[in-house]
Amino acid sequence: MKRNHLLLYVVGVAALLLFPLGITNPYYIHLLETIMIYAIVLFGLDIVVGYTGQVSLGHAGLFGVGAYTAGVLVTKLGAPLLVALIAAVGVTSVFGALLALPALRVTGPYLAMVTLAFGTIVQILINEMDFLTSGPMGIKLSKPPLLGHQLDEREFFWLVAVLMVLALIVVHRVLRSHLGRAFEALRGSPVASDCMGVSVYRYKVYAFVISAGFAGLAGSLYAYSEQYISPNTYNFELTVLFLLAVIMGGRKSRIGAMLGAAIIVLLPKLLDDVVLFRYVSVALALLVLATALIGIRRGRTTVQQMAIPVVGSIALAGLSFWLQTMTDWRLSIFGVIMLFVVYYLQDGIVGFVRSALNLQRPKATEASTVVAASAHGDAVTTAAAGDHGAEILNASDVLMQFGGLKALNNVSLSIRRGTIHGLIGPNGSGKSTMMNVLTGIYVPTAGALTFGGRSLVGRTSSDIALSGIARTFQNVQLFGEMTALQNVQVGLHHSFASNLFDVALHTPRYGRESRAAVERAMGLLRFVGLADLAFEEARNLPYGKQRLLEIARALALDPQLLLLDEPAAGLTAPDIKELISFIRKIRDHGITVILIEHHMDVVMSMCDTVSVLDFGQKIAEGVPAQVQADEKVIEAYLGGTAA
């Protein structure tokens, strides 16, 4: 970590710890304590919302589970502090898993609804199961003793502060690790993620369960902090507030989470004090107006774009003078803020400030130190030795039917180890369908597929990827917002045996695996000539380089069989020459290649065997020259008898 960043963090933490010594009013101490507790929830929620990109409306429910676990254990069983905290984390994680396992089979609005249902059920159960939870009466707690010493207001504050900092460190480490990359990958391109061995479903569940753990910890601290908990706190309003905080502060940012927490705690207090709110809203309106004027003058925005924010903020200020109290309109204001943030502040306040000050996202720093030291030599593993020429993949009478359409009609293929096998045919002949069947994206209607002695039928894409089949995609499926290096590192996910604890504690095992992955990834990037662009975001790379990056990522799986889906599409002639040499080098490492292509010169110059599909059936097969002269093939492409 950079010297001045570290200094800033130390200063920040020190300021936090010194706060209750300077400001002794318990009201403010409690306020800041609540902000920190909410921040812990948001660290976890950000993993789900910011990284995996899912909307969860159930985190207030998870928060409530944490609070009540602690509350019930303390009042019914007299549990000590540490037991209560750990139990809260554990129980909430279990609830999180119970929710995630069914819920995460679906995405988007369905997931949102399901989590909302969960949150509502939790609230109802807490309310009704009064033999356990005292129902609407609530549970009273007092500040806990720690190691024999009764904690007072200030000391509990320090406890919360320490836990928050620890939570921050853990989250930070998780998100910088292969786990964090997996989370981002599954949002960037779920299909590519599965085909690189990162099971989308499984990692969505992990992300959710981890976030549940955080919510549980925060909930238990909340119980002690408030000294009284009741069911109606953990409602829809709270869950929406959590979401608002994450997107308003800024997704994928720890500072954003803390900022968001501060806003959702302070804003209702602000709204309760009308006079203060009037000052603030006028100041805000002036600020927005000034920003708009400067922006328009500098040509960075237009009147149209700025119209709504300007009018809106002035209207808000006007409203605050007209109304006597803003408390009743609290929710509407939250709603309006949400609308505003969703359309105008998509990257949150942190993102807005970053782009305004032209700062860059902190880049993965561990990699740069290793880059200099990486060894030379080819990072492409030599595929497991086997008899060259022996059969590595067998497809037998594969039928793939979609409704009435037979995309693949009893196609049989035999792929020999160490060869480059071309698969060609007119548009719609079934080539990509075959690819998708081989990698588990489609399950064949009938037929057999054997690879390395095992059947492929019915296995998940990530399972197939991990057993030695890697692929690239016709429409490039890179993880756009991640760097080239990170994209390849996702392909190396399989090389990590480290689990959550290794990552959180930065054990030697994790350190080793992490360094090895960086070295290997750089080696692969060097192989395709992209080493200089390692830290460039994948979506900013030129098209030709993106296709090469996909190949490097696929090679990271250490495959025995590499499927290339139209790798030359959209490439210029010199790029195509380069591509041909790479594919030959890959073959020289003993990796078998299946190549779908339309560029006939590529196919003919490289392939040992070529199979031709038309209307989902194989119409010819043989060495390139043979196939090129085959009448049926000519007819399939040109139609009718050629002149």
């Binding site: 409704g403 007119p426 719609g428 993106q546 959209g570 492409y637 040109l638 002149a643």
Partner: protein
């Protein structure tokens, strides 16, 4: 080309999908009453051209004119109202609606005042006469038709607009040879009725058999163009599809 009215003019068209630019400045003219075909191998940009003309994608640069009116960059529903009918790649019929409902929807702008109404019901019957297979199945759901029948439905639906120009995008795709022959017979019939058509096809031989004029698209550029019968025997055409000595 002669002084016929140019129904559809494409000038120096550039188009693509985000980073991938597919068309690098192509120019095509479709005179009134003629059939012009655009042929080329996969990935050459044929469907991209169609989509840019009918407004499904916005071109990056260049001009497109329909009957003298500039249409590039317009929304596809607006272009349809101006009289350009597009039978898209993959047919894309309305699967849960009947054959006759699909056809009626083809005349939507006529029924809602955007185009001269004429006699929609009479045109519906005429379309069914032209496509006997569809007539037998007029109340059948379009999703249950075979590939060939869906292709005919898509073409008939396009004609229902009473359009100035019809764009036919790969009508032969995925069809068995017998059905391909039938589709091209229908295109001949439409040609004899004076329908102006721009036909994009993978099957060069069949397309050149029915067209008056042809353009060959290679890697987003027109490599060769001329009267269809001349192109039919041009070795450059064959090379463009199967590789070999000439182009690369």
């Amino acid at each position: 080309m002669s002084a016929d009215t140019k129904m559809l003019t494409i000038s120096n068209l550039f188009a693509g999908y985000g980073k991938v630019q597919v068309l690098h400045g192509i120019s095509i003219e479709v005179p009134k009453g003629k059939v012009v075909t655009l042929i080329g191998s996969n990935g050459a940009g044929k469907t991209t051209t169609m989509r840019a003309v009918s407004g499904m994608i916005a071109p990056t640069a260049g001009e497109i004119s329909l009957n003298g009116k500039r249409i590039e960059g317009m929304e596809s529903y607006h272009i349809a109202k101006l009289g350009l009918a597009h039978s898209p790649e993959g047919r894309r019929v309305f699967a849960t609606m009947t054959v006759s409902d699909n056809l009626i929807l083809g005349a939507f702008p006529r029924l809602t005042g955007a185009r001269p109404k004429g006699d929609v019901n009479a045109d519906l019957e005429r379309a069914l006469e032209l496509f006997p297979r569809l007539k037998e199945r007029r109340e059948q759901l379009a999703g249950t038709l075979s590939g060939g029948e869906q292709q005919m439905l898509a073409m008939a639906r396009a004609v229902m607009l009473n359009p100035e120009v019809v764009l036919l995008d790969e009508p032969s795709m995925g069809l068995a040879p017998i059905l391909v022959a039938e589709v091209f017979r229908i295109i001949e019939r439409l040609k004899s009725e004076g329908v102006t058509m721009l036909l994009v096809e993978q099957f060069a031989a069949a397309a050149l058999g029915v067209a008056d004029y042809g353009y060959v698209l290679e890697n987003g550029r027109i490599s060769v163009h001329g009267p269809a019968d001349k192109l039919r025997n041009d070795p450059a055409v064959k090379a463009a599809y199967l590789g070999g000595s000439s182009s690369h």
